[in-house]
Amino acid sequence: MGDPHTSQPLWAQSASASIRMLRGGQVGARQLTEAYLARIAEVDGRIHSFHHLAEARALSSADAVDREIAAGRWRSPLQGIPFGVKDNYDVAGLPATAGSRLRSGHVPTRDARLVADLEAAGAVLLGKLATWEYGTGNGGEYFDLPFPPARNPWDTARFTGGSSTGAGAAVAAGTTAFALGSDTTGSVRLPAAACGLVGVILPQGRLSGRGILPNCYSLDVPGPLTWTVEDAALVLDVLLQPSVSYRRSVTRPIAGLRIGVVRGPLGRFGPPDASMAEAFEEAIRVLEQQGARIEVARLPMPVSDCFDVTRLIGPAESAAIHEAELREQSRDMGFALRDKLLAGSMVRAVDYIHAQRQRRLMAEAIDDLVQSYDAIITYGPLRVAPRLGIEPEMTAFTVETVLTPFNLSQHPAIVQCTGYSSEGLPLSWQIVANRHDEATALRIAAAYEGATPWRTMRPTL
């Protein structure tokens, strides 16, 4: 059964549409959960979005939700909605491999804080989603991990974007309604871009990282991946409980908002793919038509300079975090993790400190730029989803982005779909708002989404 108004199967609906059906009594939580489990059984063998499925737990949770609904008890707007979490989140009683043979047999006894919050809100956990080993990587795929790599539902020969690979594949393919990932230099926004989704990050400390395997203390942030902007607002409403609901914020018009459009400088990353650039310019026109005041802006430094700073910070911190494993178990690691830790072990403390000093200067300059506007718009990745296993393409997709400046500066940022290339691959952009004003980014994203047809298209599997 699907939405009677659109004849969509349940898995193809947005989470928000499913909530309306749950509230209207048109579907139950068990029925909804079973629809996702059936979708997983149907397609996950081709996209490998899940590492661990928790079918019995999910059905038990859904039955509990149905009993509550029957008793008239509504816990939250996510009650009864199925979700998945990247396999670097702890879930009590479920394997937490983080995609690594180093952690085979590791079963936490406590939930990550965000998992606990979502389950307390009545959301239904389906299982653990695929990730690059330890939630990190160098952009390449080496087929040397204990799980097959997740594949992009828009073209299964292509990469999902990493490191939250399964989160991207699952939300696009409808094997979950929404997902939680984690982002150090793009790991929520890259899969959101490659898979045509909404991916959101907030500054550190806004969403709890407790119970998530760390990758880089000074840059890691968790974040949701959703099909629509309204869904992202909904998840953030439940997790952050703002005084003014994000779902209300996204309905406000954008006329009069000052938006800085940043096209560069890109430094050595070169120009974006032509299809990405065309979609970007067309999307700007969509905002202009809604009365937004569009102004040309410019990053205060080449974006590749920002990436270079993260290349010292990230590996050094990862090498500190995972030092014990590198000392004792380097043979059991995949190439990408091991290479990063080997390199990180050789970063001088002096260079690490200079990188953090540069980061501060960059962050202050970026903040000055963002504060000049209500929001700025940039490219996300400069490339469309690459072919899986073609290392230069994958590395270019992962590295050549405009994502890292806002990890360094800790601004709220959203990646969303801006259409599809002639090959049917998702295109994307990024909206960046002032700190503690993610509502404005969501509002702009919702205005764009509402004026374009991209959410009516799902990948064919």
Binding site: R206, P315, E323, L342, S345, R357
Partner: protein, 69 residues
């Protein structure tokens, strides 16, 4: 442009690894370190230095987080 750095020998990297608790790395991983060491040192050498000594690092690790991270 400065002269390219010579790649460290396997013996030099092995000694480095021993000094820093990585003595159990297998030879192929030590060999890889000899290749990576040039990239790492180049990244560090090429990073511009802030001009003012007062330019302190970013507040790297929060001691009073806004939620229980």
């Amino acid at each position: 442009m400065s002269e390219p750095l010579p790649r460290p020998t396997l013996e030099e990297i092995t000694a480095f690894a021993r000094r820093h608790g990585l003595e159990r790395l297998p030879p192929e991983h030590l060999q890889r370190m000899t290749e990576l060491s040039l990239l790492v040192s180049e990244l560090g050498r090429c990073l511009p230095r802030p001009s003012q000594k007062e330019d302190a690092p970013a507040p790297t690790f929060e001691f009073a987080p806004t939620c229980d991270r």
